[in-house]
């Protein structure tokens, strides 16, 4: 083919300009859909672009524009299904845009956590980052991003301080409703498998349980609460603690599905039938909820939609206010709950 660009390498804006007999600037105008441009010129250039298979170099663009069309996703989350849902949500938002997604999982127990995140932000010069819970619950990160001049949105499970940078669901109300269902089924002693200390989501879900119990004058003392850390194993340990009680509960609300699965596991090991001998309710509605036996009654929160909204806030900051910030949850009844025997 005649008129090909210099051997090797991809065609550049210069090649397009030369072959179509216009200046770089005009080609740039075509690419950026500048309105003040003759239609004939535009078409002429577009033909050459198509012929050459020209694609603008994003690095050069980022350099000239002093902005980088890349979002970052920072998380330390034990649950694979949830992380993937978050990722999918962000990807929904950037589909068919020029944005791309960089993922950056971290270890929240690492002493270098802050340095690590700082390095990531400084090195990559991202357009913005999204932080997932539980990291998002730490206000120090917000301060760090402000200091670094990096846009951010926090995914939170409860009201944090700064609505502009926040996408959230109301866990407390959701748990209140779920525990209310257990109470309506006749359960009086309802155990709580709590999330780890320092997690706002854990705190919110615990308070939801407490509020529901108190509203019905039911016991909500510490002996009915067992702490877990959102892992399957910790759910098993918490279940052992609750089922060893002299007056053992007839139902358990676990603060996430994985721990609920652990509860079901332990009940089964002890020869108890779920839901006949023990009703179990989880939270999150991750894949495991529908996969274990019996299928788990749980609460769904729209992770993917929320993540999409968070990304939208970063991509279109001017419309960030119009973007929804508080998302409703949904109670999902399945087979792990039954009326008290």
């Amino acid at each position: 083919m005649a008129g090909k660009p210099r051997t090797g390498g991809k065609p550049t804006i210069n090649d397009v300009a030369r072959l179509s007999g216009v200046s770089k600037k005009t080609v740039s105008r075509v690419i950026n859909r500048s309105p003040l441009l003759n239609q004939a010129t535009r078409e002429k250039v577009e033909v050459v672009i198509a012929e050459l298979g020209y694609v603008p170099n994003p690095q050069a663009r980022a350099l000239a524009l002093r902005r980088n069309f890349v979002l970052g996703l920072i998380y330390d989350n034990p649950n694979a299904q949830m992380v993937l849902n978050f990722q999918e949500g962000v990807l929904d938002a950037i589909r068919d845009t020029e944005f791309a997604l960089l993922i950056h999982p971290v270890d929240r127990r690492s002493p270098q956590l802050f340095d690590n995140i700082r390095r990531f932000i400084e090195q990559q010069r991202l357009h913005g980052v999204i932080i997932l819970p539980p990291l998002s619950e730490n206000d120090q990160f917000a301060a760090l991003f402000d200091e670094l001049g990096c846009n951010y949105v926090r995914m939170g499970s409860a009201r944090l301080d700064d609505p502009a940078h926040l996408v959230q669901s109301n866990d407390r109300e959701a748990v209140r409703e779920a525990v209310g269902v257990l109470i309506a089924l006749g359960h009086r002693r309802i155990g709580l498998v709590e999330g780890p200390e320092g997690f706002r989501s854990a705190m919110e879900r615990r308070e939801g349980w407490r509020e529901a119990m108190e509203a019905h004058g039911l016991p909500c003392g510490d002996e009915l609460v067992a702490r877990g850390n959102y892992t399957f194993e910790s759910g098993k340990e918490a279940a052992i603690q609750l089922l060893d009680l002299a007056e053992r509960p007839s139902a358990v609300f676990a603060s996430n599905d994985v721990m609920a699965a652990g509860v079901v596991h332990v009940a089964r090991e002890r020869g108890m039938d779920v839901p006949q001998d023990l009703s179990v309710v989880g939270f999150d509605d991750t894949a495991i909820a529908a996969t274990i036996w019996p299928p788990l009654t749980t609460v769904r929160w729209p992770i993917r939609t929320m993540a999409r909204s968070a990304a939208m806030k970063l991509i279109h900051p001017e419309a960030a206010d119009k973007e929804q910030s508080l998302f409703p949850t949904e109670f999902v009844p399945r087979a792990s709950t039954a009326p008290k025997a």
Copy 2:
């Protein structure tokens, strides 16, 4: 602080050069650890860099070097845990390097699949991409990446044609061993829940089952094979098909854990006890295997390590040959298998 760079923005190499009284070039030499440089000069510059908190702009670097320190991960995988393991493995490899990871999930049934991937590669100008199964099993992608001049490594479950771009495990042998264990437990009729058509992994695992059965003179006719598509639901359907057989199998090998979980599910619905009435073996050893009841006997393949190795091949192409390419699997006995009653 006196001598700060121009208001706003991050410090650039020019700021560092000016403040330390040397040229850009010298600063560049410091950054790139050029050996021919006076120690005193180096230290002087390093002090200024630390003081300013200077970090080189990766876009400018990418532009000048004509190489971009970003890897891409392309996949269409129904299993969250596996995808996350792959991601983690790649991230293991790039930790403490200047590389970053861009994820790009796709829909393999989409008619725009090729265009989509092509656009991704052309737009991002990645240093290299890693393709996960089942996408990796399609040789047309290899051709596409070659055409686009993009480095790639395929994660495969079997011997494909091009060892330089490949990281794999030997599924067939692993399944032969797993089914061998079932046979040793006294099972004679062993059903197979096969993976979807067109998946090399599905084919390899089926052949592993067949070879084991044939080696012991056991039946391996089509009636003992039910096709699934690696999802939980399809595992249930396959289980129904197998358990409806007049002469029903006493054991089932499912080509992945999720489908195995579906088999266990159906068995339970029918009041069968696993493993007393039915032994079940899965494949992958994803989180679900240890989470369901009973814990699933399965085969583990070192996803994370393999992904790490794949990324290493891209980061250090000169040492790619030294990087391991074939990884051993491991049989993981748990509670879903028992001697034939």
